[in-house]
C-alpha cells in the first residue's frame, strides 16, 4: 500500500496552477517559491511514508530553495565553481549565536564533525565513552582508529546515566553526549548537564565532551538549555548542530559546531576540507536567520508528536518522553517484525537499536496527515484498535 489517501498527484498543469513556471524547452520548474508543499507531494507521490530517518517532512521551504535556485542562474556557473561560502556561513552563524567565526566549524552534516572530533580526540590509549543506545557515528570512527569504546547503559526511563557516564569518562579521549538523546528521544535538563560536565572536567581534565544537539530546535521542555555558551569558553566542550533536522536540509549536508578556537583547530585538522556544497551552504545562509520558520516547524512537529504519543498511550503502549522529531516506543515485539509489517503498509520506520532491538522501535514524526495515516497502519501491524476506547 502506498500513500494515497491524503496526497494528490499533481501533473504539470497543477504544478503551474500551484505557482510553477515554464522555462527552457518547455519544462516545468517546481514552484519553489509558492505552493511548495504541493510540489513536494507530487515528487514524493508513490513513495513510502518515510518515518525512519528523523527528517523534516517539509524540507527546507521556499526561502532556502529560492536562494538555491538563484545559484542555478547564469547557466548554473556558480555550481561549477569551488565555493567560498564556508566562511560566510561561519560568519552568519557567529552573528546569530553571538560568538566569533573562529568558534564555528562547518561540516558535511554534523556527521562529519562527529567523525572529525573522534579522530581528533580518541586513540588506542584514550577511548570513546557514550550511552547505550546512542547515535553510532563516533563509535564507527573509534573502531577505525582502534580506540576502545565504553558504552554505558541508560536508566529505566532511557535517559543517559550521567553518573555512570562521568565515571566511565575518566581517562577517556572523548565523551559523546547527545542531548536530546537518539534514539531514546529523552532530554537531560540543563542543570544536570552542567553538573555532569563539571564532574568530567574535574575528574578527567583532558577529556573532551562532544554534545550533540541535533534535535535542539524540537525541544519543548523548559528545563532544556543549549550548552553553546559553555562550549565557547571551555576548551573541552564541543556542541554540534545540524541543518538536517528542523531546518529540513538532510539532503544538502551541512552541519556546524561550536567550541573554543583552539579546539576548533584540532578538529578541523582532521577534517576533509571540501565536504560542503554551494547549494547546502546557500540554503543554510538563507535559513540561519529565519527564526520564524524554525518556530513554525517546532510547532508543527510538537502537534504531530503529541498526536502520535497520545495514540500510543491510549493503546497502552508507552513511548519515552520525546523531545525530538521521533518517538522511541516499546512495541512489545522485535523492531524488525514491526518494521517489516509497516513496510508492507507503505511506511518505513527506524532500524534496530541494540540492546533494544527486541522491544523498541524508533518512529520519526511526519506531517500530522502522515501520522494519522501511519497510526491506522500501526494499528493493523500491532493488532490494536485503530480507534481508541472511549
Amino acid at each position: 500500500m502506498q500513500r494515497r489517501s491524503f496526497i494528490r498527484t499533481l501533473g504539470a498543469g497543477a504544478m503551474l496552477a500551484a505557482g510553477g513556471h515554464v522555462l527552457r524547452g518547455g519544462r516545468v520548474l517546481g514552484p519553489w517559491t509558492r505552493g511548495f508543499e504541493e510540489a513536494l507531494a507530487a515528487a514524493q507521490a508513490g513513495t513510502p511514508i518515510l518515518l525512519h530517518n528523523n527528517e523534516n517532512p517539509l524540507g527546507p521551504g521556499p526561502r532556502a530553495l529560492a536562494a538555491m535556485q538563484a545559484k542555478l542562474s547564469e547557466r548554473g556557473v556558480p555550481a561549477a565553481r569551488y565555493t567560498s561560502l564556508v566562511p560566510d556561513l561561519a560568519d552568519a552563524i557567529a552573528g546569530r549565536f553571538g560568538c566569533k567565526p573562529e568558534n564555528v566549524l562547518i561540516g558535511c552534516g554534523s556527521t562529519q564533525i562527529l567523525r572529525s572530533a573522534t579522530l581528533a580526540f580518541t586513540t588506542p590509549a584514550r577511548g570513546l565513552v557514550g550511552g547505550s543506545p546512542t547515535y553510532e557515528e563516533c563509535g564507527d570512527v573509534a573502531r577505525l582508529v582502534g580506540a576502545p569504546i565504553r558504552a554505558v547503559p541508560g536508566t529505566s526511563t532511557l535517559h543517559h546515566d550521567l553518573d555512570a557516564l562521568a565515571a566511565a569518562a575518566r581517562g577517556a579521549g572523548l565523551v559523546f553526549f547527545d542531548n536530546p538523546a537518539n534514539p531514546a528521544a529523552t532530554l537531560h535538563p540543563a542543570k544536570a548537564v552542567v553538573a555532569f560536565l563539571e564532574t568530567v572536567n574535574r575528574e578527567s581534565p583532558d577529556t573532551h565532551i562532544l554534545i550533540d544537539e541535533a534535535y535542539h530546535d524540537y525541544v519543548t521542555d523548559p528545563a532544556h538549555e543549549t550548552q553553546i555558551p559553555l562550549a565557547l569558553r571551555n576548551p573541552r566542550v564541543i556542541v554540534a548542530r545540524t541543518f538536517s533536522k528542523a531546518y529540513g536540509m538532510a539532503g544538502l549536508r551541512v552541519g556546524y559546531a561550536f567550541a573554543h578556537p583552539e579546539t576548533i583547530k584540532k578538529i578541523r585538522a582532521q577534517q576533509y576540507p571540501q565536504g560542503t556544497n554551494v547549494l547546502g551552504l546557500t540554503g543554510a545562509l538563507a535559513l540561519i536567520t529565519d527564526l520564524e520558520r524554525l518556530e513554525q516547524e517546532k510547532q508543527r512537529n510538537t502537534e504531530a508528536r503529541q498526536f502520535t504519543i497520545d495514540w500510543f498511550k491510549a493503546r497502552g503502549l508507552e513511548p519515552t518522553d520525546s523531545q525530538c522529531n521521533f518517538l522511541f516506543v516499546d512495541v512489545g515485539r522485535p523492531a524488525k517484525e514491526f518494521r517489516e509489517g509497516c513496510q508492507k503498509e507503505g511506511i518505513r520506520v527506524g532500524r534496530d537499536f541494540p540492546p533494544f532491538e527486541k522491544s523498541h522501535s524508533r518512529i520519526s514524526i511526519g506531517t500530522i496527515e502522515e501520522m494519522r495515516y501511519a497510526t491506522q497502519a500501526f494499528a493493523r501491524v500491532l493488532g490494536v484498535k485503530a480507534e481508541a476506547a472511549a
Binding site: 530553495l65 565553481r81 567560498s84 558535511c108 549536508r253 571540501q274
Partner: protein, 393 residues
C-alpha cells in the same frame, strides 16, 4: 565610493557591505585557513573576475544536469539515500557504465574525499605514500598531517611523472598516487605505461594500493591514453578516482567517486562519510555521466581554447607542456606569485604555487575562448610582451 583596483586585494568589495563585515577580520582569517589566501578570496568575490585558478568548467553543468538538480530540490529534506535518485542509484549506474559491480564503487564529496580517505585507509607510520612532485597536493598533505612517510618523485623535463622511479619507491608503500593526466603539469601517460606500472608494482609490492586519479580524464585527446579502469579486474589493489568537478562542471556540488577492487573499496569507504553525496549532486551526476553528446561538446570546446592558449605562449617563446587537461603549465621564468598578483590586479585569477616550481612556473586554467582572449591580453601586458596582433586594453 568607487572601488579601486587595488582595494579588492586587501578588503572585500562589490555591492552593499555584507552583514558580516563586523566579523571581516575573522572572515579573512578563516579564508586564509581554508587555503584560499585572503587576496585570492577577496579577488574571487569580484563579479567580473576571470577565474583561471581552479580548473573549473567555465560554462557550468549541462542543461540536463541543471534540470536534475532542480528536480532534486523536492528531496532536499531527505537524506541522500532516501532521495530520488538515491546514492545507490548512482552507484549502480556507474558500476554498469564501467562494467563493474556496485561493490566496486565508492562515492565521495568530491574525488578529494576519495583521495583523503585512501591516504587514511592505506597508509600508516610504517607504510608510506609515493607521489610525484609536483602533483595534486592533497594526498601528500593528508599523509604529512598524519606523520606518514612520503616519497616524492620529481617529474621529468616534460612534466611527466617519473614512473620507473615511482615503481622503485613503491616497495612496502601503503599507497602510490598516480595523477593521470598530472595536475599541474597537464602531462598524460599512455595506457601501456600505466598498465606496466600497475603490473610491476603488483609484482614488487603486492600489498601497495595504486590510486590513479583521473580527474581530467574526459578532457584528454591523446589517442594513446586510456582509462585505467579495465586494470581493476586483474589488479584489485587499483583504485581509479573520477570527479564531477571538472568536465561535468559541478565543482561546487561536491561529488566524485572511486572505482576499484571490492576489498580496496570496502576499506576506503569505511573512511568516507556516510551520506556524503548530497541529493542534488547525485541527481545531476546521474544525468551528466550519461550525456555523451554534452561530454563530447565540452571536450571539443576545451581542446580548441587550450590550443589557442598553448599557441599564444609558444609563439611568445615560453616553454609550455603539452597539456591534456583544462589547464596549461607554463615556464614564465619568474615567480608564480609575482605573475599571479599582477594578473589579479587586472581581474584575472591564475593558479597557486606548485613547489618546487613556484619560482618559474604557473598553472593557468582554460576558460571560455572569450575569457582566454581577454586573459592573453593581460598576460601580454604583465609579461611585457609587444605585439601588433593583440591590442592592449
Amino acid at each position: 565610493m568607487p572601488v579601486s583596483r587595488r582595494m579588492f586585494l586587501g578588503t572585500q568589495t562589490n555591492g552593499a557591505p555584507r552583514a558580516a563585515s563586523i566579523a571581516a577580520r575573522g572572515h579573512e582569517a578563516l579564508a586564509a585557513e581554508y587555503g584560499d589566501g585572503a587576496a585570492q578570496a577577496a579577488a574571487a568575490r569580484r563579479a567580473d573576475a576571470i577565474r583561471l585558478n581552479s580548473n573549473e568548467n567555465p560554462l557550468g553543468p549541462s542543461p540536463a544536469a541543471l534540470e536534475a538538480i532542480e528536480g532534486a530540490f523536492a528531496f532536499a529534506g531527505r537524506y541522500p539515500m532516501n532521495a530520488r535518485p538515491a546514492m545507490a542509484d548512482l552507484r549502480a549506474l556507474l558500476a554498469k557504465q564501467h562494467g563493474l559491480e556496485v561493490a566496486n564503487v565508492a562515492l565521495g564529496a568530491g574525488s578529494g574525499e576519495i583521495l583523503h580517505s585512501a591516504v587514511r585507509a592505506f597508509t600508516s607510520g610504517s607504510r608510506g605514500l609515493v607521489a610525484g612532485v609536483p602533483t595534486f597536493e592533497s594526498p601528500v598533505r593528508v599523509a604529512r598531517a598524519q606523520n606518514v612517510p612520503v616519497a616524492e618523485v620529481p617529474v621529468d623535463a616534460a612534466g611527466r611523472l617519473d614512473l620507473p622511479k615511482m615503481i622503485g619507491a613503491s616497495k612496502g608503500a601503503g599507497l602510490v598516487f598516480v595523477c593521470n593526466p598530472n595536475n599541474p603539469t597537464g602531462a598524460v601517460h599512455p595506457a601501456d605505461a600505466i598498465r606496466d606500472l600497475v603490473s610491476r608494482i603488483g609484482a614488487a609490492s603486492p600489498d601497495s594500493v595504486i590510486l590513479i586519479d583521473e580527474a581530467y580524464h574526459e578532457y584528454v585527446t591523446d589517442p594513446d591514453y586510456a582509462t585505467a579502469v579495465p586494470l581493476i579486474a586483474r589488479h584489485p589493489n587499483v583504485i581509479v578516482s573520477r570527479t564531477m568537478s571538472k568536465l561535468h562542471g559541478m565543482a561546487g556540488l561536491r561529488l566524485g567517486y572511486g572505482l576499484g577492487g571490492m576489498k580496496a573499496i570496502e576499506s576506503l569507504a569505511r573512511w568516507t562519510m556516510p551520506y556524503n553525496a548530497n541529493a542534488p549532486a547525485v541527481a545531476a551526476a546521474v544525468a551528466s555521466v550519461q550525456d555523451e553528446a554534452q561530454i563530447e561538446r565540452e571536450r571539443a570546446r576545451n581542446t580548441e581554447v587550450r590550443r589557442f592558449t598553448t599557441a599564444f605562449f609558444r609563439s611568445a617563446g615560453f616553454d609550455i607542456t603539452d597539456s591534456q587537461a583544462n589547464f596549461v603549465w607554463v615556464n614564465l621564468g619568474r615567480p608564480a606569485k609575482a605573475f599571479r598578483d599582477a594578473c589579479a590586479e587586472q581581474g584575472i585569477l591564475v593558479g597557486r604555487d606548485f613547489p618546487p616550481f613556484e619560482k618559474t612556473h604557473c598553472r593557468i586554467s582554460i576558460g571560455t575562448m572569450d575569457e582566454m582572449k581577454r586573459a592573453v591580453a593581460v598576460f601580454r601586458s604583465v609579461l611585457n610582451l609587444t605585439s601588433s596582433s593583440v591590442s592592449r586594453q
